[in-house]
Amino acid sequence: MSTLLYSDVEEELRASVRQALARTAGGVSSGGDPAGDGWAGSDAWRALAGGIGCAALAIPEDRGGAGASWREVAVVAEEVGRAAAPVPWLGAVLGTAALLSCDAVDLLPKVASADLLAVLVLPLSTPPGAPVPAAVRADGGTLTGTVTSVADAHAADLLIVPTPDGLYAVDAARATLTPVTALDQTRPLSTVTFTSAPATLLGDAERAAAAWTSALRVGAAILAAEQLGVADWCLASTVDYVKTRYQFARPVGSFQAVKHRLAQLWVEVTQARAVARYAAGCLADADPDAAVAASLAQAHCAPVAVRAAEECVQLHGGIGFTWEHRAHWYLKRAKSSAIALGTPAQHRALLGELVDLPPR
């Protein structure tokens, strides 16, 4: 097992990402509606993907990438979560994972250079272990069908479409995207419709299935890192608030019931960090335990993020219930993330199969 700590290089990456998001993801940080005109996080995304080079992290050097690993990708996800940034990082990660799985030599360099944002087309709520969906049919080099609740498609240049017949790429301009009113406005969802859309075959049915499985696993692990970031922000901002908010002539954070709840939350967040790090490490090392690690990470980190966000709202009192305070973006992101790529219950059920603890 590789280390669960962060390397110095990772901490430098984190600092850059944090700075870029603070500078550019104003739609959220100023408390405004992050899903406003155009797409809200596009500046932040350019800074992140191209400026810092995050898009290249998971891609090998001989495919035009930076030859880092999913561990670094996870660090970026932590910061995206910490900022509740409306950037298509999860969509990009899923797309990249699929392209890596079928070794798309033509596309990977463009993805790495951030010239091309390739997003995987699947319902965000797809549970782990689900088969490749049959919602889209391939017919003579074109695709027809509709996929609902696709995350980050609004920002994509290229749509990567898994079908039972094979994995395809479609120019985003050739698909019809209908925005969905999402609970989490920081991660826009679309209904994606293909009507005889010209498509390029990236891999046959077997490849498509492998890419699908790989992308779901990578997505689950990286999403856990994002959830860790969300939880971290919620805990830290709550701790800060209760230190300075006075009621009954005392800081609210001096009341023991509040202290114990935050201490217990800290224990959970600390565990979430270890679990998320382990999942990212397993991906990076192609560890045979990766499937277990990814579902473990979702099963643990998703509820921790939700609880952290709920405590954040509650312990901010009235102000935490307002639109102006940032807490609600985190609550919505945390809860939606708990549904994304499978609920904790679905991951626990899958874990039971994986570790030989069958339901009956």
């Binding site: 609970l183 009621q247 009954f248 002539a249 009235g318």
Partner: protein
């Protein structure tokens, strides 16, 4: 008064004011004047001095006769909080002036208690009322401050207001209770958008608002004691109401489970049944509490019902969202609106999830309710207090 005498009064009211042909407001006023508004109130103030229990039969008979109601959800603050306070602490003149239009709904009431700096610690509030003489030579008070979490402020004619009249006294002692005219100059109401996207509540800014001394409720410096009547009734109101099995959020969840078998994911049934059991336990405990109250046993126990209600709502709605999967990722509408009531029934699970977060904050946070239960029910010792014998103005904040 005998039951048949009361029925006779209802019959007389209906005979003299046929609901089918009488104007709504006219009917409501007549009902008030007949003492059939709230029969437990004194005669002349919309009641007949009867036990509360007598109300049910009156309401039922009038509903059956097709009589209009006073839209009690919309005027809940007036009915539930202002009215008992005016009745208990108001002068005869004040009762005569305010109770009738309050009950008929002609005049909507709101509550100006909480402030940005005084939430759980309500008694620390800083809105100042300074005594003076108005341009017309009438005694009164000039009020300055900011209030928050005020539902219905934008529709209200009157507000119950708690303000500080002496900052040199310890915090509980320097407060006075007023009735504030929401149409008076210097009252500014701004909607306060909440995490659901809508604005049920408002911020209210008071800038040199003039309140005649005749609109003071109770003695100067007695505001905290007067406010206890209001707050007690708030908690009872929030926790109250007899409900059938599977009422409320658990009903919505049970419907989802029954009607949409595809939502029944692995490992979720036990969680569903845990919530069903918790809902039923909460319902029966509330029922039992109502029986106790009817039997005359008072208490801080209402806090327990509200505490459990908030927790259950949050758990049930959170569970349902995950059960729904893809649908749980969606929301119905982020448009900013200013609704009068919370619409648990017709909005989506996402709305219920978000709105329920307010249940453990509004009307006394769950933390404060736990304090109340611990100290008033269990008799556990209070914490060491730093704000007891200190002048309000010298408190750390």
């Amino acid at each position: 008064m005998q039951t048949d005498e009361l029925s006779g009064r209802v019959r007389d009211l209906l005979a003299e004011h046929d609901p089918a042909s009488t104007d709504r407001l006219e009917f409501l006023r007549a009902r008030f004047d007949a003492g059939l508004a709230w029969v437990s109130f004194p005669a002349g103030l919309g009641g007949l001095g009867l036990p509360r229990a007598a109300q049910q039969a009156v309401d039922a008979a009038l509903v059956q006769a097709g009589a209009p109601d006073n839209d009690p959800m919309r005027i809940g603050i007036g009915l539930g909080m202002a009215a008992p306070t005016i009745l208990r602490h108001g002068t005869d003149e004040q009762r005569q002036r305010w109770l009738r239009p309050l009950w008929t709904g002609e005049e909507v009431w709101c509550q100006l208690f909480s402030e940005p700096g005084a939430g759980s610690d309500l008694a620390a509030l800083g809105t100042r009322a300074v005594r003076g003489v108005g341009p017309d030579g009438v005694e009164g008070w000039t009020v300055n401050g900011q209030k928050v979490w005020t539902s219905m402020a934008h529709e209200a004619r009157w507000a119950i207001l708690l303000a500080r009249t002496d900052p040199d006294l310890p915090k509980h002692q320097g407060l006075t209770y007023f009735v504030c005219d929401m149409t008076a100059p210097g009252v500014e109401v701004r909607p306060l958008r909440q995490i659901t996207g809508e604005a049920e509540f408002n911020e209210v800014f008071l800038t040199d608002v003039w309140i005649p001394d005749a609109h003071r409720l109770g003695a100067v410096g007695e505001g905290w004691r007067v406010a206890q009547t209001t707050l007690m009734n708030e908690r009872v109101a929030i926790g109250g109401g007899a409900v059938p099995r599977e009422a409320g959020m658990i009903g919505a969840l049970a419907r989802t489970w029954r009607e949409r078998p595809e939502s029944r994911g692995p490992g979720t049934h036990d969680g569903l049944m845990r919530l069903w059991v918790a809902a039923e336990a909460g319902r029966l405990a509330a029922t039992r509490l109502r029986e106790q109250l009817a039997a005359g046993a008072p208490g801080a126990e209402g806090s327990a019902v509200k505490y459990a209600y908030a927790r259950l709502n949050q758990e049930v709605s959170g569970f349902e969202l995950e059960l729904l999967g893809e649908e749980g990722l969606r929301y119905d509408d982020w448009t900013m609106r200013r609704p009068s009531i919370v619409d648990w029934e017709n909005r989506t699970p996402g709305y219920r999830y978000l709105r329920a977060k307010g249940n453990s904050i509004e009307g006394g946070t769950s933390e404060i309710l736990c304090n109340i239960i611990a100290e008033r029910v269990l008799g556990l010792p209070t914490e060491p207090r730093a704000d007891k014998d200190v002048a309000w103005k010298d408190l750390p904040r």
